[in-house]
Symmetry: C2
Subunit: 333 residues, 2 copies
DNA sequence: ATGAAAGCGCTAACAG
DNA sequence: CTGTTAGCGCTTTCAT
């Protein structure tokens, strides 16, 4: 039942060199004579030696493992980001410890402490409520961290996103130009900075530029789920909205189908525009117009940035803003 | 830049006990006098001591970390399974190292070796082509493994699934009873055991029970993507199929929309039934009829089974088969 | 109930 | 270019 049969010591003995030398060839240290390197390599091959990453981690204080905290694995927005993270992590030979936070503050704290105990070399964090408590936990990790597709209202933490304010403003302008006067704003919790400090700001800016009144009754705060959106159909009609900006694609799909099933014609009688351009936008009928953002890239760039931070490389800008766009499909006129 | 400031040694000194005692209280060993336990606890609190999991792992040969290999993070089928795995892992205090395989055989081998190096205590594997090579790698891990929502044609590895053959047979019978004579079979690669050895078998069984001929021209092998399904619309009409069983929900959504956009009325002129009952089935219009399966539970039960295996607990059946169902929605008559 | 001591498998100075 | 020697921080016998 030995997990580890052959160790670096066995290789050293068999190859008649010191373990330091074995360590050197394993780690690609150039200070080894080709002949002995080959000899060691042969023995490694013959014994089928595999370095123990845990021992390595303890000795070197580097685990080549990063932590990724994700609010919801089953939400396409996050899983697309994760894919970008994963690809780049692989490229740089880092393993990922996945930690689900369920957008729950206590759990976020817990998982971060947990990642710290595991001595991760860095953390990619997705989530939009960075409390002071969390900031402390993150500090204790003594490891670099970057926010992926998430914002830090205090702009202290390195992050990669798009310009959410401008994106929402653009989306709103589109709706306003088409003559909509009562446009609903539908997103997740306003406790999330991205909703409260960015999207809502964009919403209000567009309104005020168009000299339209801001009506709190048009603001819907719910959770990011299809069901939640579907359930909103009646309320949306009750407030006489003729369009909606929605902060999540599944939520938007729910709004769209809820409305359609209630006999509302989208986009003729009601326009909807969503935020993340995930695959859901193509699957619904009508297809959903959306803000577009390079999700995979946001994840990939986050991870790349993290590697730089972990290597103490020179960083240009700690907050990288990627370009967004607007894609008109069928849910808007 | 010290990652670890306070160690067990510091606590021992400060509490005037040996590190062995500190270790005992940290690990909940009952052989500690309540008074000294309290003293140690106080010092731990005061110094904000956090055990280093890496050192622990090296000393105890247990990392409380498991590896999860997943073909595609962005596919709902797998992410739903992962959610179940994750929840139970948390419950038993295991961390998850996530390893994407991209349904690529070489990558599977590589990630398994990687997980082995990291000394994971167990592995949950999703994927349906267990080659001999992979089996060897898995063996070398010296860690228990369970297949989640995946099959091992050789039935050697512990796994949790539904009865795929029966499920597909049921789905086919439904289609056949409605009078369909030419039913397409649309799935991913036939190299995958689940497609070749299970689903296809169910398809053929249903056909033969109904005395319908098996026509290889009705079998479509593609990848699990919306685009792939969408692109199949013409081919499906060319072979004069009037219905299709589809092995993946996104793929099915593609088939459905492709057909609809080509002017085919679903379900009036063409029925489709899919396999995984993920959220996509509710979002498409018409909604998709589907085999139902307890995805979250499959993941959860897999993880639970793995914990038992890791603790050398007595296991009843190494292959657990969960119930499936059939849900009629609007894509079938 | 508690302590001493020997590792776990590897890296990293430091010599030579 | 290679070997020696300490640890890394913790668990785990084995004594006491």
């Amino acid at each position: 039942m030995d997990k580890q049969t052959v160790t670096i010591y066995d290789v050293a003995r068999e190859a008649a060199v010191s373990m330091a030398t074995v360590s050197r060839v394993v780690n690609g240290n150039p200070n080894v004579k080709p002949a002995t390197r080959q000899k060691v390599l042969d023995v490694i091959d013959q014994l089928d030696y595999r370095p123990n990453a845990v021992a390595r981690g303890l000795a070197s204080k580097k685990t080549t493992t990063i932590g990724v905290v994700i609010p919801d694995l089953t939400n396409s927005y996050f899983s697309e980001l994760a894919r970008g993270i994963d690809d780049v992590a692989l490229m740089y030979k880092y393993n990922i410890i996945l930690a689900s936070s369920d957008e729950n503050h206590d759990k976020e704290l817990q998982v971060v402490d947990n990642l710290t105990a595991k001595q991760v070399d860095g953390i990619i964090f997705m989530g939009n409520q960075i409390s002071d408590e969390l900031r402390e936990s993150l500090d204790r990790a003594h490891a670099p961290i970057v926010l992926a597709g998430s914002v830090d209202e205090q702009r202290q933490l390195p992050s990669v996103n798009i310009d959410y304010v401008a994106a929402v403003t653009d989306a709103m302008n589109r709706l306003i130009q088409r003559g909509n006067k009562r446009i609903a704003f539908v997103t997740g919790s306003m406790d999330e900075s991205i909703n409260h400090d960015y999207r809502l700001k964009g919403y209000q800016q567009a309104l005020s530029s168009a000299r339209l009144n801001y009506d709190a009754g048009l603001v819907f705060q719910t959770d990011y789920s299809y069901r939640a959106g579907y359930a909103l159909a009646q309320a949306l009609q009750d407030v006489k909205a003729t369009a909606a900006y929605v902060g999540d694609d599944e939520l938007a799909a729910g709004v769209l189908n809820g409305l359609t099933d209630a006999g509302v014609d989208v986009p003729a009688d009601f326009e909807v525009i969503t935020s993340n351009d995930t695959r859901f936008t193509e699957i619904t009928r009508p297809r959903m117009s959306s803000i577009t953002q390079p999700l995979y890239d946001i994840g990939a760039v986050s991870m790349r940035l993290l590697t730089k931070l972990m290597n103490n490389e020179e960083i240009g800008e700690r907050t990288v803003v990627l370009p967004y766009g607007l894609k008109k499909r069928q849910s808007t006129k």
